[in-house]
Amino acid sequence: MLKFFRRNKAFQLFSLITPGALWIFLFFNLPLLIVLFISFVERGRAGSIKLPPVYTIENYRQLFNACASQFAGPECDPLLYIGIFGHSVRIALVVTLWCILLGYPLSYFISRQKQIWRDALMVLVIIPFWTNFLVRTYALKQVLATEGLLNSFFMGLHLINQPLDLLFNEFAVVVGLVYGYLPFAILPMYASIEKFDHTLMEAAADLGASPRRAFLRVMLPMTLPGVIAALVLVFVPVVGAFITPDIMGGGKIEMIGTLINRQFGVSRNWPFGSSMSLMLMLMVLIGVIAYFRSGGEETRRAM
């Protein structure tokens, strides 16, 4: 039996992949089919869907042309929802960029410490995120508030005379999201950088590469899988984020996640929320796969 396992590649693959494939199929793909179904029917008056189901593609049509609805006002903007989606993508890109810019050097810094410190620092990165998200975000608000920590600090140092408006705007949303998703960037990048062999940098220098060149041509390509993983893990959830934009943006920054959540909440329009989610998933997935593939290719070529 054991011998069979060792010899038979197909059997190995089967036993490795079955648990994950089965779990995801059963508890993700099947429920997702329900969402797909809901996105093609009419909304029920009470919520959920109209029964018996009335099939329609209105939910998708409205998404791309907001004026297609019977409820469109006189000055309706056909790109209402697309615009919000674009705005969310823009915010997510900025957040991802910051997470990587802050997280990459930190991961590198940690990877160069002694083993014991490495472990300790990694755990210290993640532990604050075991406190509840809501109180953590409220606390961040206290840091940025008009009479919050930062403003008091800067005023105390006489660096500014007037408190800065740090809260309830797009800046605050970005800060809040970077704060919330930084560990999502650090964990994969650290896992990747930790195995990088630093003597390669010396070798590159010996071969005449400037530090910058050595970084760009040796270290970055070799740790790129980690960076791409970070990009995926930050960008993707941030596009759909909804609590942080509400709290930090003072309800003024509408993101696609806020919109979707409302469809399943007070607006009770599951079909529209479902179609919006599926389009979001589709678009983000296409983008990520495209990027991931080109990135993956580059990595292989760099080797």
Partner: protein
């Protein structure tokens, strides 16, 4: 129940189709959803057969035993699905001691979560606590059981304002639990010329521009604008809503934040001086002992103001309906209702309980508004199809306010 059946067949057949259709299981095999429970009788005066008579340790003296109803019909445990910290835990303990019934509580954060959970079926709660408009929806959907007011005799204790309202005109399905309003809070240390009018919030030339917060709630916030404009809070005329939207967009440059969660903190810390708010938050914001600040008062505007009410109800299919009703009656005995009201801090609909409530609290007009104000109060009703219009208006307004 029929519709659950439909739903199940659709979904089950989809799943089977997705499996490649190779399965021999026919969709009909799933015809009986689990929500179909024996307890479909509208009036559960008879305990369901599953409930074994229980020897309780209830005291035998007449008065307290009476509070437990017919003890031979009581279940061991009932399941309460409610807002968090919305019942004094001591009352649950007391009920368990007195009547031998354990009350197990879990919480939801919104009426819509409650609705979705009940619609999906499978979760057999005995008591749920929906707000007014959600009662209307649930009754329309046939999700609530008709109650037996012989068991819940304490319904007589209710104030006239709190019973026979639009969502349950014949008072057949619900027992009022707590109620309140949403007007706005004013920091009178800064704002000296307080007027009882929404114009304080919507005046484009307000001296307090930039120090205003509004609720972040589609119906409440659009509703406030509608009331200021002189329309009903449940108006569905597109032109009126368009007007409300433009008013909100104009106002947005003066609004510091749309916030339903920490709006009380904002006014307490002085970042705002005018805050659209639910009563509960506004009351605490004015009480220094509770982290509030002296001088923050609550205003119910002339043009109108929303009134809300949470109600206890028994979902259709509840396994322990009789015990649930006994408990609903129990919490409305005057002393218990008073104790609960002091714990929760909202206004109790129980008139008889008011004798046992601290007179200072009773005198607080923000919790128990004077009679002449009652005519200004408006219920947020379900607007049906037009909810899509509200969502549209709200999204357009948010998109405009953020840019």
């Amino acid at each position: 129940m029929k519709k659950y059946l439909n739903y199940t067949i659709i979904i089950a057949s989809m799943i089977l189709a997705a499996c490649g259709g190779g399965e021999t299981q026919t969709p009909a095999a799933t015809e009986m959803p689990v929500t179909e429970l024996p307890a479909t009788e509208a009036l559960a005066t008879e305990a369901p057969a599953t409930e074994a008579p229980q020897a309780t340790e209830a005291p035998t003296d007449g008065e307290t035993a009476e509070r437990c109803g017919d003890t031979s019909q009581l279940a061991d445990e009932i399941f309460l699905y409610t807002w968090v910290e919305y019942i004094d835990p001591a009352i649950k303990d007391q009920f368990e001691q007195e009547c031998g019934v354990k009350v197990t509580e879990t919480n939801f954060d919104s009426n819509e979560t409650l609705l979705a959970t009940l619609q999906a079926g499978g979760a057999d709660y005995d008591i749920v606590v929906p707000s007014d408009y959600m009662v209307q929806i649930m009754v329309d959907e046939g999700m609530l059981m008709e109650l037996d007011y012989d068991v819940i005799s304490n319904i007589q204790n209710m104030e006239g304002l709190n019973v026979n309202q639009y969502f349950d005109p014949d008072q057949k399905y619900t027992v009022p639990y707590f109620w309140g309003t949403s007007g706005f809070a004013v920091d009178t240390n800064v704002v000296t010329d307080v007027q009882e009018s929404w114009s304080m919030m919507f005046d484009p030339d307000s001296p307090y521009c930039g120090q205003i917060s509004m609720l972040d709630d589609e119906r409440e916030t659009i509703g406030a604008a509608l009331m200021y404009l002189g329309y009903s809070i449940n108006d569905t005329d597109p032109a009126h809503l368009e007007e409300a939207k433009n008013l909100l967009i104009e106002q947005s440059k003066c609004v510091k934040a749309y916030d339903s969660q920490t709006n009380d903190d904002l006014i307490i810390s002085g970042e705002t001086v005018l805050a659209h708010m639910w009563t509960g938050d506004a009351i605490l914001a004015g009480l220094p002992d509770y982290g509030g600040r002296e001088g923050i008062t609550y205003v119910i505007p002339q043009e109108g103001c929303t009134i809300w009410q949470d109600n206890m109800a028994v979902p259709v299919g509840a396994p322990n309906a009789y015990t649930a009703m006994v408990f609903m009656n129990y919490v409305h005995y005057p002393e218990i209702a008073a104790q609960n009201a002091e714990f929760v801090g909202y206004g109790t609909p129980n008139a008889a309980a008011k004798e046992s409530i601290d007179p200072d609290i009773l005198a607080d007009e923000s919790i128990y508004p004077p009679a002449e104000v009652e005519s200004r109060l408006q219920w947020i009703e379900d607007v049906g199809e037009a909810l899509e219009l509200y969502d549209r208006i709200w999204t357009e307004f948010k998109a405009a306010a953020g840019s």
